[in-house]
């Protein structure tokens, strides 16, 4: 990055998140489930309230004042998101419900039409079900084949030598997660895009765990498609983003039909609207889209590079504290070379039991397969615990996590 932001002050930022003041069982909440969803700052809540109090109206069609205000705000939200990830304007930003819907949009609009027997889709072993199941099923319907780039045994990184073998001229699509939601591994997606493009394949990047917490530039990655969710980056639920290169979005046929996405309709045929509206059939997520733009403002006011450094620091600290005891297995790369989350298991304590006991200490983590069942098969465990951090978390909270883990260990010893 050309300009480094000041280190962020998590304690000060917490004032924007009154929910963090909640207490359970006499203890203040320690919210470490941010990879699932992040909390919403007052600024974004205000944007939502402001929309419904001041200018709630349907977009695009209306000539009246409210509709004009809503339309301008909704359309400009696309510009704001484009700027946030380095896209070339609103034409490249399609608002969806979430990352999963964005993945499905590409799979249905492009995959179903373009894939056939002999074509291959290359994924990674650490894909979230949102990508994995989607391409697996589209491949089944088209006769294409899915292949999976393995992870290394020691540090759970992508085996890039294997990736170079697996991506061939038969590859039509490479779909890869940027930051693994279960391992925290940061994948070299720009390198994957290079390899894919050498073989004439497209690249879809699942950026649900990267756009919220680090600078992401779609042109630096040279991603053909990239998707993420608003609710994991201080925005509301119900809004996600599909970035697509303008040329590809122009060529592709829409997957959903209806109002808003058309220019001209006769009984016989229809002509599609301009980008990105061609892919946004029906009344869109208006308020959510506008609130997402406010979330982008909020994050930029802190600085994405500062958020990235803060999360790397917390992840490294959590990794070190958890591995002080040799009965804890932490998955993914060591140190601070990981996204802001730590997946782990405590020997003799099932992840669900651990999460129940941590809840007793008002420590919120997630336990289960994290929508990565095949990855857990590779790891040889049925479930794992996951603590995930965001800009308002502190080292003190990680100490609270470790104390609670100690308590669980004692209870089960």
């Amino acid at each position: 990055m050309s300009q480094q932001s000041e280190p962020l002050n998590a304690e000060a930022l917490r004032e924007d998140f009154p929910i963090l003041e909640r207490e359970f069982n006499g203890s203040q909440l320690v919210y470490l489930d941010n990879a699932a969803t992040t909390q919403t700052p007052e600024q974004v809540v205000e944007a939502i309230v402001d929309y419904y109090r001041e200018y709630n109206a349907n977009v695009h069609r209306g000539i009246h004042q409210l509709s004009q205000e809503a339309s301008i705000a909704y359309e400009e939200a696309h510009d704001r998101v484009a700027e946030f990830i380095g896209a070339d304007g609103r034409e490249e930003i399609v608002f969806t419900k979430n990352t999963t819907e964005a993945a499905n949009l590409v799979a249905y609009a492009w995959g179903l039409n373009e894939l056939g027997p002999g074509d291959e889709v290359v994924l990674t072993e650490m894909e979230h079900h949102s990508t994995l199941v989607t391409w697996q099923q589209i491949a089944k319907r088209t006769g294409a084949e899915c292949k999976y780039i393995p992870i290394t045994d020691d540090e759970h990184r992508l085996d890039m030598a294997a990736a170079r073998e697996l991506i061939t001229d038969d590859t039509a699509m490479v779909a890869a997660v940027h930051v693994s939601n279960a391992l925290g591994t940061i994948n070299p997606v720009a390198e994957l895009a290079d390899i894919a493009h050498d073989h004439g394949a497209y690249v879809f990047v699942d950026a649900a765990q990267s756009v919220p917490n680090r600078p992401v530039d779609v042109r630096e990655i040279d991603a053909d498609f990239l998707a993420f969710s608003g609710h994991k980056m201080c925005g509301p639920t119900g809004i996600g983003v599909l970035y697509g290169k303008r040329r590809i979005l122009e060529e592709m046929e829409p997957h959903h039909y209806g109002g808003e996405m058309i220019l001209k309709v006769t009984f016989e045929d229809s002509k599609w609207n301009e980008l990105p509206w061609k892919y946004e059939a029906g009344t869109p997520l208006i308020c959510q889209g506008i609130a997402l733009a406010t979330a982008c403002d909020y994050l930029d006011s802190i600085g994405m590079d500062a958020i990235e450094r803060h999360e790397a620091d917390l992840a490294a600290y959590a990794y070190d504290r958890l591995t002080e005891q040799n009965d804890v297995d932490v998955y993914g790369p060591p140190g601070d070379d990981r996204g802001g989350l730590v997946g782990f298991n405590v020997d003799g304590v099932h992840a669900h039991d651990l999460s129940s006991i941590l809840n007793d200490h008002a420590v919120a983590i997630r336990a289960g397969d994290h929508c990565t069942q095949p990855l857990h098969d590779v790891l040889g465990v049925s479930a794992s615990a996951r603590a995930s951090f965001y800009l308002y978390n502190t080292r003190d909270e990680i100490d609270r996590l470790v104390e609670a883990v100690d308590d669980a260990r004692q209870l089960f010893s």
Binding site: H352, S356, L358, N359, G368, H376, F412
Partner: protein, 138 residues
């Protein structure tokens, strides 16, 4: 103490750490497997019936998973002895909660009822009421 600690009363921890009737029954009349796919809890139950072919004489189990699922199986393996297959079908979630001695949080109910469901499905298959390959609480 909050819900979590309550849920891990001594009895549950005791049955989790020292499961009763753990292992396979060589002379069982029927056996049945169940799992919670999302949790990875698995229970395989073995049942030996008395000469009347309807009263449970012995139960054993093997399994893997969280404390709630495994303690429930252990407690149930003792509880089922002497019950008829019909009585097994009459059991419900409250019976399991009573056995465990705790109120279950909604997210953990499926862990607790797995063993009971395995027993019920296994019994139903044995008397020919149902055709089930594997029990699941999902």
């Amino acid at each position: 103490m909050g819900l979590g600690s309550d849920m891990y009363r001594q009895q549950i921890l005791d049955h989790y750490k020292n499961p009763r009737n753990y292992g396979e029954l060589e002379d069982s009349d029927f056996e049945h497997v169940g799992e919670n796919p999302l949790c990875g809890d698995t229970i395989k139950l073995f049942v030996k019936l008395a000469d009347d072919d309807e009263t449970i004489e012995r139960v054993s189990f093997v399994g893997d998973g969280c404390a709630i699922s495994q303690a429930s199986a252990s407690l149930l393996s003792t509880e089922l002895r002497g019950k008829t297959l019909e009585e097994v079908q009459e059991m419900d979630r409250e019976d399991v909660e009573e056995l465990l001695g705790v109120d279950l949080t909604p997210m953990r109910v499926k862990c607790a009822v797995l063993a009971e469901k395995v027993a019920q499905d296994g019994a139903a298959i044995y008397v020919g009421d149902e055709e089930i390959d594997q029990t699941t609480t999902e």
